[in-house]
Amino acid sequence: MQLFRAHVLVCGGTGCVSSGSKKIQEALIDELAKQNIDKEIKVVETGCHGFCEMGPIVIVYPEGTFYCRVEVKDIPELVAEHLVKGRIVQRLLFKAPVTEEQVPSYKQIAFYAKQQRVALRNCGHIDPENVQEYIGRDGYEGLAKVLTSMTPLQVIEDMKKAGLRGRGGGGFSTGMKWQFASQSPGPKKYIICNADEGDPGAFMDRSVLEGDPHSVLEGMLIAAYAIGADDGYLYVRAEYPLAIKRLKVAIAQAEELGLLGDNIMGSNFSCRLHIKEGAGAFVCGEETALMASIEGSRGTPNPRPPFPAVKGLWGKPSNINNVETYANVPVIYLHGADEFAKVGTERSKGTKVFALTGKLRNTGLAEVPMGISLREIIFDIGGGIMDDKKFKAVQIGGPSGGCIPEQLLDTPVDYDSLTALGAMMGSGGLVVMDETSCMVDVAKFFLNFTQKESCGKCIPCREGTKRMLEILQKICDGNGTPEDVTTLETLGAVIKNTALCGLGQTAPNPVLATLRYFRDEFEAHIYEKKCPAGVCTALLEYKIVADNCKGCGACARVCPADAITGEKKEAHTIDTSKCIKCGSCIEKCKFNAIVKG
C-alpha cells in the first residue's frame, strides 16, 4: 500500500475553480514531480469548503494548515517551503480581520468556529469521486444499520423522533412525509430528489452534490426502504454540469459495489436511481411541476391535494425531498435520532446550510445549528459588512422570502420565528444589503425574477405579478402615486391567497416585507421623487459642485451625451435634460466635484 506522508487538498468547488484552482492543481503536481517528492505527497481534489471568499483554498495535512487565495505563482514556494522543508508559508495563511493575526489551522478560523457541519460533513475533506473515501468516513453505515436491524416502520418512527424538516424551503416534517408515502398502497412507488435549486444566489445543494454526492444517494436509499420504493430520480438543474458529472460517477460506483440494484447489502431491498436534467425553469423546483417535467410534460404545477405521497410520479405514491434533507438522513441513523435532536430548537431540529452572499466580508457557505441568531451569522461568521459600511437589511428565502432589518437581527434562525416576521427560511440563501442598496429596487429585482419564471398557468400569478412589477417600475421611474402602495398591498394579498403553486403564492413576499419594514423608502420614491440609497437612476440628479470644479474638462470629454459644458479653468455645468446618468463623469473627476443625489 503506498503511504503518503502528506495530503494536499485542493478545493475543486465551482467557486475556487473559477478562481483558477484547476491550474493550481496542475502546477502542484508538476512541482512535486520536479522536487522528486510526488511519491510521498498525495494531491486530492475536494468539493467546496464553503469559504469561497478566500478561494482558491489549499489545505495541507497532517498539519491541517489552511492556505487561502493561493495562486499558481505561489506553488513553487509552497512546495519548497512547506512540503520539502516543513516550514509553513505565513503569507498565504488566513488573516483574521481587524487583528490581522495569521491563523494556521482552519479549526481556529472564526468563519468555521461557529459552524456545525452535518450536511457538509465531508465537503472539503474527501475526494467526491472516490467512494472509498466516503466509506472511510462511515459512509453507507447508516444504510447498513437500517437494512440489517430496522423495519421500514421503525425507520419512519426514528425520522419523526429526530424532527428533521424539509430543507428546500417548505419545512414540512420529513417523518410525516415518509409516513404518508409508506401508507399509500404499492407496489410501485418512487423516491425523488429535488436538486433544481432555483433560488438566485443559492448554492448549498450544488456544493453537497459536487462535494459529497454519496451522502445524497445514501439518504435516498434509506428513504426508499422506509416508504417501499424501488425506483427513483434525481432532478438536477442543467446549469450544474459538475454536480451532474459527480452524481453519474457516484451512481456508477454505487452500482459497482452493489449499493444500488438488486438485494442491496444482501437484503431483500432493491432500488435503482436515475438522473433527469432540468432545462432552465425555476418553476420546476415546485414538486408537482418537477414530476410533470420528469414525465415529459411541460413543467407546470398541478393542484394539491392529491399530494405526491398519494399520487405522484406517473400517478404512483412518491416521496420528494431536497438535497440537503437527504444529506442529513444518514447521520440520523448513524448516530441515532436522539443525538440529532440535541441540536437546534424545540420545533426546528438540526442544522441548516446558508449561502452567504451580498455585501459581506466572508461570502460562502456556512452550516449552523438552528436557533443561532442572524446577527451571529452575519457578523461573526460572515465577518460583517464590507468596507465598514452600515448594515441595512438581509433578504432570507430568496424570491419567496422577505427582508429583515437591523432591529430584528437577534431573531433566532428557525422555521417558525422567521415566518412570523414575514420572511421565511427558504432554501437558505442570505443576501446582505448595506446603505447603498435601495429596498424598492431589491423588491423589484426579486419580483422581476418570479415574473419571468411564472409558468403562466394560473391568472393570479401570470397577470398579478406582472401588474405588481409594473407598479414597482413606475415608482422607481419617479411616477409613483400614494394609491400604488395600497394597490401593491391588496394585489399582493390576493395573489398569495389564490395562486396555484408556491411560486405565485410567495412572489409578493419581498414586496410586502419591504413595505412592512422600509415604507419610508417607498414614500421617498413616491412623494419626494428621491432614491435615498442613490440607486434608482431615474430619480438621481448629477450635479457639479462649483467650488470643487477646476474646469479641467475631463468630464465633458467622457460624457457620451454631451451634457457637460463650461469654459476652461471655470466651473462646468451638467444639463440634466441631456444627462443619461451613466456615471462616467463621476469616475473621471479627480477633484470630487461631481455628486449624485
Partner: protein, 121 residues
C-alpha cells in the same frame, strides 16, 4: 461487491487508511529537516521511515518535519510523540535504526534507550 454489513465494515477499515492522515490523531514522527539535518542525511532517514510505515500498513502515523533545533551535532534527529506520552528525541539516527525505533517505540511504546538524546515534557 458489498454483500453484507461485514463487507462494508471491512471496506471501511481499508478506506480509513486512505484518509487517516487527515484525522489528526495517532503517533507523530517529527524529522529534523533543517540544513544540518539534511546534510547529515535526514532525507534518507525520511525515506526509510515512509518505507517502514508502508510495509506495516500503518496509515494513521503522522510524519512531519521541523527545522533546526540547535543540536546540530546530534543530527539526524527524530522525535516520536505518542498520544499522552513524553516527546522523545532520538539522535544520530541512521536509516538502519528506523525499523527498531518503529517496532520498539512507535508500536510497543518502549523507548530505544541507546539512541535517545532528550526527553521533553
Amino acid at each position: 461487491m458489498i454483500k453484507s454489513a461485514e463487507d462494508l465494515k471491512r471496506l471501511r477499515e481499508e478506506a480509513k487508511a486512505l484518509t487517516g492522515i487527515r484525522a489528526g490523531q495517532g503517533v507523530e514522527i517529527i524529522l529534523g529537516m533543517g540544513t544540518c539535518g539534511i546534510a547529515a542525511g535526514a532525507r534518507e532517514v525520511m525515506s526509510a521511515v515512509l518505507e517502514e510505515l508502508s510495509k506495516r500498513e500503518m496509515s494513521d502515523v503522522r510524519v512531519t518535519q521541523t527545522g533546526c533545533i540547535g543540536m546540530c551535532e546530534k543530527e539526524v534527529l527524530v522525535d516520536i510523540v505518542r498520544p499522552g506520552e513524553k516527546r522523545i528525541t532520538y539522535g544520530r539516527v541512521k536509516p538502519a535504526d528506523i525499523a527498531r525505533i518503529i517496532t520498539s517505540h512507535v508500536i510497543n511504546g518502549q523507548i530505544v534507550e541507546d539512541l535517545v538524546v532528550a526527553k521533553l515534557d
